[in-house]
């Protein structure tokens, strides 16, 4: 037998191989693996190796607990799924049986073997190597205690759409302070732009504005609109957030929101944001009458005074002297324990879909434009009219999936377009009686009362054509097409090409991540998927947490979703934060570095490596020390120390080197006792 370096060999290790139903057992011969571990890793301290259908089940866990008690196991290796899924489960099981939870090691033979390999023999051999690595590593585990970090009771919510509003209100109602930061002049988000909400056809403003008012008046909410987060420092429990409060040029303490400035301002500006380019606002404005807060904003780029040096009409006419042209951006610094990102979505730029003619053909509209057209408070007072502002369309074509489920734009389904398009069909039928064609690939009406709404729209008389529209053109070829927009489509149910002349086309454009989503994610230390949506901690089991402790996500920032799901996620994120605040502290992985001062030579190589300023050098004693409160456990200094004076828990040199040996055990054995010599 080969002599291995490493641990004392006195540990009593139990190995548990999970079948995960057929997820692992379908590719890996789990019984053979367990038998092998019992026999061949015996001299490495393995006293028992078992396989079981579902190790994570209560029976599976009891198996481990029983062995710990009866066989006196001192270490446990579970070969199952990723530690990101069940590490905690097995640690808790060990803890119940009286073993320090950090003496358990979960190695992944599902994500790293059975699911990614098809060759059963090779996958089985690899599983053995992985387990061998785990066994060598676990012997070096040390009993640890989790780190406890206090949680600051305040929370930062970024984004004042319905997701952020919901989250802020839940936390504030529970009695804890919230900073709600919104970059537009008012909260409300996209929902404030909508007319009706599917499937109940509630008026969006009627259900949203009371919530906005609650936010504006809530004693526990500090509302910071026209503001952006510029910097985030610190970690879960204690973030230091710098917020840039952009100059409004309005004294908020004096402004009563009377609106005289907006009325008297001589400068009209096309409102590209709230009115989607269909309406006007003034250079001093609130985006809409029910805006919260009520204070307007002076748009410096368009204000005659700022651009030409004269005017000051608002200043002269303001009854409370609230206009202040001398205001500058303010930087606020706040302390918070948790952060909820509810930064929402952008809509796909319809100009990118050249064949649908948006921007080139006047009467092609985007879904957001249609929302404003149909909104009673919108630029046409709810009249559904063509771009000329007066003509009512006789025929309307609504194109689903514009830019979604399309490899040229976005592969994903934008989740809301089917229902949104059906809502538009309903509104057109109800308000104008025009003929409506909906062009769809599939109808996806999966949530509560959605399919009933679909049936209702069919009963309204909307005509649904199954087929992806090839082109929208104004080039008439057939009689009856002159002056019309012609929709060219393959009707895949009838099995033929059709040309359908309409007066108005509405593109149900897909949802996209905010244009600056990557930048924002980086600022908060989290990541985006390749599509650009924020990645949640687990797609099913933890859809509101992110990989960064203390940073949560809600609403469309995480992926396209409808209003009910957005509200649910906002509330869920708030619940997670509230649980943290109630606990007053959080237990973190005790992954930290420390210096053995007897070994430290004072060379200071590590001193410049820590971005968290956790490394302190004591000039008097010429040794380095690591502040465990600041150390985040990356291990860069451990790797750098030439004297080996720095050690890191959970990933010590001994643990890593032993794991490497274990992973290569079969290769080493082959080298020592070579098979028939290779040619």
């Amino acid at each position: 037998m080969t002599q291995h370096n490493g641990h004392t060999g006195q540990e009593r290790i139990g190995v548990y191989v999970c079948h995960c139903g057929s997820n692992i057992a379908g590719t890996i011969d789990v019984e053979a693996v367990a038998l092998w571990a019992a026999e061949h890793l015996n001299h490495r301290g393995v006293v028992i190796a078992r396989d079981y259908k579902f190790m994570c089940s209560s029976l599976g866990q009891e198996l481990i607990e029983k062995d710990i008690k009866e066989l006196g196991l001192t270490r446990v290796v579970v070969a199952a799924c990723s530690p990101h899924l069940h590490e905690q489960t097995f640690r808790v099981a060990c803890h119940r049986a009286g073993l320090n939870p950090y003496l358990c090691e979960l190695v992944s033979i599902r994500e790293q073997a059975s699911w990614v390999h098809t060759d059963k023999k090779a996958a089985t051999e690899k599983a053995k190597a992985i387990i061998s690595g785990g066994v060598e590593r676990v012997a070096w585990h040390a009993p640890l205690e989790p780190l406890h970090v206090p949680i600051h009771p305040a929370t930062l919510v970024v984004g004042g759409g319905i997701a952020g509003i919901q989250a802020a209100l839940e936390i504030a109602d529970a009695g804890f302070p919230v900073y709600l930061v919104e970059r537009e002049p008012s909260i409300g988000g996209h929902m404030a732009q909508f007319d009706k909400t599917f499937p109940t056809m509630d008026c969006a403003a009627c259900i949203l504005t009371p919530r906005m008012v609650s936010v504006g008046t809530h004693p526990n909410i500090t509302l910071l609109t026209w503001s952006e987060v510029s910097d985030v420092q610190g970690y879960v429990g204690n973030f230091t957030v710098t917020i840039r409060k952009k100059a409004r040029y309005i004294k908020e303490d004096l402004c009563t929101g009377c609106g005289i400035c907006q009325e008297k301002c001589p400068k009209k500006v096309i409102d590209e944001v709230f009115e989607a380019g269909l309406g006007y606002r003034k250079a001093v404005y609130t985006p809409f009458p029910q805006a919260v807060p009520k204070y307007p904003v002076i748009d410096r780029e368009n204000c005659t005074y700022f651009q030409k040096g004269t005017c000051r009409a608002c200043e002269k006419l303001c009854p409370t002297e609230a206009i202040d042209f001398g205001q500058t951006d303010e930087l606020l610094t706040v302390q918070v324990g948790n952060i909820i990102l509810a930064t929402g979505f952008d809509i796909l730029d319809a100009r990118r879909i050249g064949q649908y003619g948006y921007g080139r053909l006047a009467n092609v509209f985007t879904s957001l434009e249609f929302e404003r057209l149909s909104n009673a408070a919108g630029p046409t007072n709810g009249q559904i009219v063509l771009r000329d502002g007066v003509t009512h369309p006789q025929t309307v074509g609504i194109i689903h999936c514009a830019g979604s489920r399309d490899r040229n734009f976005n592969n994903y389904c934008s989740a809301i377009c089917c229902m949104q398009s059906l809502k538009f069909a309903h509104l057109v039928r109800e308000r104008t009686g025009a003929t409506v064609y909906n062009f769809y690939i599939d109808i996806r009406t999966t949530a509560k009362a959605y399919d009933e709404f679909y049936q209702r729209v069919l009963d309204d008389g909307a005509i649904l054509i199954r087929g992806r529209v090839a082109e929208v053109t104004d080039a008439a070829r057939l009689p009856g097409e002159e002056g019309k927009l012609i929709i060219q489509v393959e009707d895949t149910l009838a099995g033929k090409q059709r040309r359908i002349p309409v007066d108005m086309v509405v593109l149900s454009v897909g949802l996209e991540p905010r244009h600056d989503a990557k930048e924002v994610a980086h600022r908060f230390g989290i990541s985006c998927s390749s599509d650009g949506w924020i990645i949640e901690k687990h797609p099913k089991l933890d859809p509101v947490a992110t990989m960064t402790e203390g940073v949560f996500v809600a609403g469309c920032a995480q992926g396209p979703k409808d209003i009910p799901s957005t509200v649910a996620q906002g509330a869920a994120a708030a619940a997670r934060v509230l649980a943290r605040i109630q606990q007053k502290e959080i237990a973190l992985e005790p992954v930290r570095a420390s210096v053995d001062e007897n070994k430290c030579s004072g060379c200071r190589i590590c001193n410049g490596l820590c971005p968290f300023n956790a490394i302190i050098f004591h000039e008097d004693r010429m040794v380095t020390e690591i502040n465990p409160a600041l150390c985040q456990g990356c291990g860069t200094c451990v790797a750098a120390c030439p004297a080996g004076a720095i050690s890191g828990t959970v990933f010590s040199n001994e643990q890593v080197l032993a794991q490497i040996e274990g992973l290569l055990l079969d290769v080493a054995r082959r080298a020592i006792a070579p098979e028939p010599a290779p040619v």
Binding site: V638, F651, L657, I660, A671
Partner: protein, 156 residues
Amino acid sequence: MTDSFEPVLIGFTCNWCSYRAADLAGTARVKYPPNIRLLRLMCSGRLDPTFVLKALASGADGVLITGCHPGECHYLEQNYKALRRYLLLRRMLAQMGIEPERVKLVWASAAEGVKLAEEITRMVEDVRALGPLNWPQRHNGAAPHADATAIKEGTA
């Protein structure tokens, strides 16, 4: 080298990006060759070059180091330190008579399961083309489990 040569690779992964990319590859059932064995670190910055030498000395034919993309490090900037060490290590390997191509650094975010699988596949083929490293034999039967520090000193 024989036709039956199956290289063995050790892959160092970062807990926050590439380890999760490997999880994602699994969840999405993306396939890659079984020749790689992954090991988790908290950060590519934790990668002591000794670990790479240890892997090669213990019988690995190649080492794949993976980390967060530049600018996306969970610990702000430690992957840059991994990059520096990697570049130095490659020069050192060449001096030791080991093809530097046996060690490779790639960036893979938590979303890049497919990319990680592709990189693993490519690396396995590259190392297969290089042939076995046979470090233990090269050292004339020297103990394959020799202390890594000894290897460092013995060859530096």
